[in-house]
């Protein structure tokens, strides 16, 4: 019933130039091997939604010129400092930035998951986050008495791209506590997953494993990618490669250094 991808490049065919791509936050399983493959292929003009924030992944895609629009709540390398390519691209106006706040992105994906045109959210009123989002509306809640509330339009990604600990040969993907990965898959037209390993048997046959499983019904393709989140962490499996991230922060501080990083760690397939 389910066809595993022959190669990561085949798997990523659905990520076309200009498509709306949603990816998860750093601790939820960031598909870095797939991200490097997209950069090697030279994908262009992506509208990237980082749910709700990003770190190295967004910075790499921006620096490599793959991003036209970035919709997220924050991009940072955390203890390794600001995200240099993100900062440079926003200050120079090289990308269109759609600043959000974390729960607004969750709500907008949940709207698509539920097949409704919008979701309401508290907060936001009086902030410049709202001021610069002409696509967000404020209504007077019909259940209140002059009670303004923000409505967020649904975000329906073309593709959800994620990395998870394991999948089975029926296309089921074990995501554990990272429930937003299910929301991404439900909201997106297609879902592409890379995984650390293939589980022997059907994940849905065991009630305990099933509780943390995204059904294959929602999954377009699965590709084996060991340490596929490297140099970022995969919780409960491996930690971040701090040394590498520190090196990235130094190199990416300049356009030249960033180009050198791409050569060494992205274009050189052996390191992919």
């Amino acid at each position: 019933m389910f066809q595993p991808a022959k190669s990561i490049d085949d798997a990523l065919a659905a990520v076309t130039d200009g498509c709306l791509l949603v990816v998860p936050r750093e601790v939820s399983g960031v598909p870095m091997a797939a991200t490097r493959a997209l950069i090697r292929r030279g994908v262009k003009r992506l509208h990237l939604v980082a749910l709700p924030t990003s770190s190295l992944q967004a910075d790499l895609l921006i620096g490599a010129g793959c991003i036209a629009t970035l919709e997220t709540s924050a991009v940072s390398l955390g203890e390794f400092g600001p995200a240099p390519r993100f900062t440079a691209a926003v200050t120079s106006g090289a990308i269109k930035m759609m600043d959000a706040t974390c729960p607004a992105l969750h709500a907008a994906l949940q709207a698509a998951e539920k097949g409704v045109p919008f979701m309401p959210l508290r907060g936001l009123i009086g902030s410049d986050v709202l001021k610069y989002r002409s696509d967000w509306k404020v209504i007077d809640s019909p259940f209140g008495n002059t009670d303004p509330i923000v409505l967020l339009p649904a975000i329906k990604p073309d593709v959800a791209l994620l990395h998870a600990p394991m999948a089975d040969c029926f296309g089921n993907v074990w995501i554990g506590r990272q429930r937003e990965l299910a929301t991404m898959a439900h909201a997106a037209d297609k879902t592409i997953a890379t995984v650390e390993r293939i589980h022997d048997g059907n994940l849905l046959d065991d009630p305990v494993l099933a509780a943390g499983t995204l059904p294959g019904f929602y999954v377009e393709s699965i590709t084996l990618a060991e340490r596929g989140a490297w140099p970022l962490p995969l919780p409960d499996h491996y930690v971040a490669d701090a040394e590498h991230l520190a090196e990235y922060a130094v190199l990416a501080a300049t356009a030249e250094g960033f180009a050198e990083y791409l050569e060494r760690y992205v274009y050189d397939k052996r390191a992919a």
Partner: protein, 251 residues
Amino acid sequence: MTNARHDFCDEELLADVIARLIGEVRHVAVGNASPIPATAALLARERGHGKPYVSLLQSRKYNFFTDGACELFDCAGQGRIDVFFLSGGQIDGAGNVNLVSTGDYARPKVRFPGSWGSAYLYYVVPKVILFRVEHSRRTLVPKVDFISAPGASAKNVYRPGGPIALVTNRCLFSFADGRFTLASVHPGHTVAEVIENTGFDFDQPALVPQTPAPSPDTLKLMRETVALQLAEVYPQFARQVFGVGPATLTP
């Protein structure tokens, strides 16, 4: 003892100040890259014999969430988070925080990471403690260039939460009715110095008290118990400040 040498470091003083601000609550959540607020929350929990619940969002061990990245925000929306911490590239006298950029938003001078959850949590968490170690006219400004989240809202805007205080390396400000009031100045610092380094107007009592130093018991608790818990999430910080390694090692 303002001019005397202290038997505690700044981080310990600030954590003690914040722990007092937390007070008697059920649930304190601490965001990423916030070792001093995390120290304060764990200190409050030790003093409360296991209460409040402390959620360190960066930690697996001190984080009970199982419903994905949105559970933190749902939990806050349910009124189940009593204390949260926010910082800002800029903070102004009205309690507005700016986590986005300086200069023109379309072509910023300086770009910060982004607003994170501030544009929501600042509204719904009853006690938001602003924390910015660097106390300067660069960080504490008359008016922020971008409002990630406002310090106050119109009466008809749903707002059970908001700022209660601002803690810096120099002093503690309380916040009420849309303004900061200088509550105490830390040992080794002066009111004149605070005024000199603050870009916004604030109120102050005739006599500004000095921030009390951490008690010996508090220092003992931080250094012997909290430090080991902290080491799981902030190993570098725990080593630098308390000289301890991960919890598996005993000092």
